[in-house]
């Protein structure tokens, strides 16, 4: 039975709570309400308010206390209600969560997962549609991942919870209601990229909300006789550089597609890495398609802001014509 991405996350949390008594779920409205996206629906009913915790509205508090709980042997899974509200916790995430393991000479591990519904596409008001993965990927000491399908949402979250690393876990909110199969097992490790569509003419490198857009672009390009490969990075830090390099060395062309603003986005990092790794195999410069370098606009403009099929194909054409 195909399940929704939000359900797949829910079931991963359910499994973790059921099998590991040290797992806690904490966040704003995650209990009785089941979260504003209903991702935690029913968990408090099954595991009680001591393990599925409605917190005060204090993001620094959510992550800061999760760190303390982790030091005491618990495995907290925090929910930040929306991408734009993670910043009050930024200090705890970047200065504490990311650094405590190194600062303590490896003596302390803080297995905290911070789940963040991310990106736009749902017509929301300001601060509810940001793609802010680069801030976290830029910070050493964090594992940063983005799930694009129910299968990955489920299994990557279970792997993230089981991992001793602090993990920033991005869930593309516009995909919460999309359906897909969840297999009985994980088919990839947490840090591996996935080829979601093989192709020989050009590689689209993407993640999260843009995977579906890239697949649609690849299908459209097929009608024009172009065979595009689509690779979902899944892990944004560390990046599966070997897989990316191998793919692009094969096709000779790459376009990185992300919803985040282009300047300082991960696309630049990936383009630079590919240039370093396989410059002699490239037939064209690595191109980037991303959000514009402006604050995420009002809802009625988001279709102009977010990369879509046409903007991806425009970059594909430019690369192929190079």
């Amino acid at each position: 039975m195909p399940t929704t991405l939000s359900r797949a996350v829910n079931e991963a949390l359910h499994h973790a709570l059921a099998t590991d008594p040290s797992v806690l779920v904490m966040g704003q409205d995650v209990g009785g309400l089941g979260g504003v996206f209903r991702v935690t629906d029913g968990l408090q009913k099954d595991f009680g308010p001591d393990r599925v915790i409605d917190t005060p509205i204090a993001e620094a508090g959510i992550v800061g206390t999760a760190i303390g709980l982790a030091m005491r042997g618990y495995r907290p899974v925090c929910e930040i209600q929306f991408d734009g509200f993670v910043y009050p916790a930024f200090n705890q995430i970047t200065s504490q969560l990311a650094k405590i393991h190194a600062r303590s000479g490896g003596r302390i591990t803080v297995p905290v997962v911070v789940r963040i519904p991310v990106s736009g596409g749902i017509g929301a008001v300001e601060h509810h549609s940001e793609s802010n993965e680069a801030y976290f990927a830029h910070t050493a000491g964090l594992r940063v991942v983005a799930a694009a399908t129910p299968q990955d949402a489920h299994w990557m979250l279970r792997q993230a919870i089981a991992s001793d690393d602090p993990v920033i876990f991005f869930e593309p909110k516009c995909r919460y209601w999309s359906r897909g199969e969840v297999a009985a097992d994980a088919d990839l490790p947490l840090d591996a990229a996935r080829t979601v569509r093989p192709g020989s003419d050009l590689t689209l490198l993407t993640w999260g909300s843009m995977v579906e857009t890239c697949l649609a672009a690849a299908r459209a390009a097929e009608e024009e006789g172009h065979d595009l490969e689509v690779v979902d990075l899944r892990s944004l830090s560390p990046v599966d550089v070997d897989a990316l390099t191998a793919a692009v060395a094969r096709t000779g062309r790459a376009v990185v597609v992300h919803e985040a603003p282009t300047f300082g986005g991960l696309g630049g990092e990936i383009a630079a890495t590919l240039a370093e790794r396989c410059f002699d195999r490239l037939e064209a410069p690595v191109l980037r398609v991303g959000g514009f370098d402006v604050p995420y606009p009002a809802a009625r403009l988001e279709s102009h802001y977010r990369p879509d099929l046409d903007r991806v194909l425009d970059a594909v054409d430019r690369s192929l014509a190079y």
Binding site: L33, D54, P88, F292, D293, V294, A298, A299, R300, D314
Partner: protein, 351 residues
């Protein structure tokens, strides 16, 4: 601390020095403010249900807290609102069109904060409290006698920034009045899960002059705010008012409050409705007559028509708007993207 109240739910005025200043004119004016706010709010709710607005956060039930407080300060006292302060915004002359634009998704904010002495809405909880303190520090430096009022919710008071603001204001003696609309809920989280001690008590610990007031009693809110505002204006230091009220609607049009609160609780708060309460006083004192009622009905109907009209007439923005105002001095990166996107869009028209 006892809750300060002037008007009982049955419409009787209490024996209190502040009650002496209560007259027909005042009550009619406050009543009108609240009725018009409720009409705008319900029209906006309907428009959201019809797909004309992306989202709406109702102020239903909180009209007295907002009207009573904003009508107690001077028009040039700067206000830093949260996001459901529509009744207060209307008292500052902010139009329906300006109020709805943000929620229709055509722009990020609707009005000029300088013109109305009323800031744009802040959706990131508690951020505006620090802005209010800083603005108040500026007022103090300038040696003028305005004060600053900032609205926030019970849930927002848990944010670190809220508590930084309280402490900061007390430390620097800033002329700021923190006004909490404690509407009992923060989305699905009740105040019992939000704080261990009532906010007004916490405020005293910070060194703020604190007051607990019945937020559904517009006369009490007005009198308490007036007193607090005048003390702040005299330089006696910052203050906090906790107004006890209730969010009668869902958190937003996306929320389903039946998942976490009971009909019985709503029924209880219905008996405390701020508009009904003031109407009982107006009737009891015979401060209202047919003409007043008819005029106000007509005015509310006209406002309803206006709200529907301006909402539907709000045009979709030009894509170029998203590249505007990124930096006051401009940015070549943004200029380049604006031009490239215009050329790209034009290429479709040629096809």
């Amino acid at each position: 601390m006892e809750t300060y109240r002037l008007l009982d739910p049955d419409g009787t005025l209490r024996d209190d020095p502040a009650a002496e200043h209560v007259d027909a004119e005042l009550c009619r004016a406050l009543y009108r403010d609240m009725v018009l706010a409720r009409r705008l709010d319900s029209e906006a709710y309907n428009l959201q249900r019809q797909g004309e607005l992306g989202l709406w956060l109702q102020c239903l039930g909180q009209e007295a807290a907002q009207v009573g407080s904003i009508r107690a300060i001077r028009d040039d006292d700067q206000v830093f609102p949260s996001y459901r302060d529509h009744a207060a915004a209307m008292c500052r002359g902010i139009t329906a069109e300006a109020l709805l634009a943000q929620w229709r998704g055509v722009r990020q904010s609707g009005w000029d904060p300088a013109e109305h002495h009323f800031g744009i809405y802040t959706l990131v909880l508690a951020a505006q409290l620090l802005h209010a303190v800083g603005y108040a520090m500026g007022v103090a430096r300038d040696g003028t006698d305005e004060i600053v009022l900032t609205y926030f919710g019970d849930g927002s008071s848990s944010e670190g920034e809220a508590n930084e603001a309280f402490n900061w204001a007390a430390t620097v003696h800033a002329p700021v009045l923190f006004f909490c609309q404690n509407n009992q809920w923060a989305i699905s989280t009740p105040t019992s899960a939000q704080f261990g001690a009532p906010l007004h008590r916490r405020a005293e610990g910070f060194g703020l002059a604190a007051q607990l007031v019945d937020g559904n009693d517009v006369l009490a809110v007005r009198a308490a705010t007036q007193r607090a505002a005048e003390a702040v204006r005299r330089g006696e230091g910052p203050a906090l008012i906790e107004a006890t009220t209730y969010r009668m609607a869902g958190h937003s049009t996306s929320d389903d409050p039946t998942r976490y609160r009971s009909e019985a609780e709503l029924d209880h708060w219905r008996t405390l409705d701020p508009i009904d309460r003031l109407r009982r006083l107006l009737e009891r004192e015979q401060w209202t007559d047919e003409a007043f009622v008819a005029d106000l009905d007509a005015e509310a109907d006209a406002l309803g028509t206006e709200v529907r009209r301006v909402c539907r007439a709000l045009p979709d923005p030009d894509p170029a708007a998203m590249f505007a105002h990124v930096l006051p001095t401009g940015s070549p990166t943004v200029d380049h993207q604006r031009e490239a996107y215009a050329a790209y869009s034009a290429s479709f028209e040629e096809d």
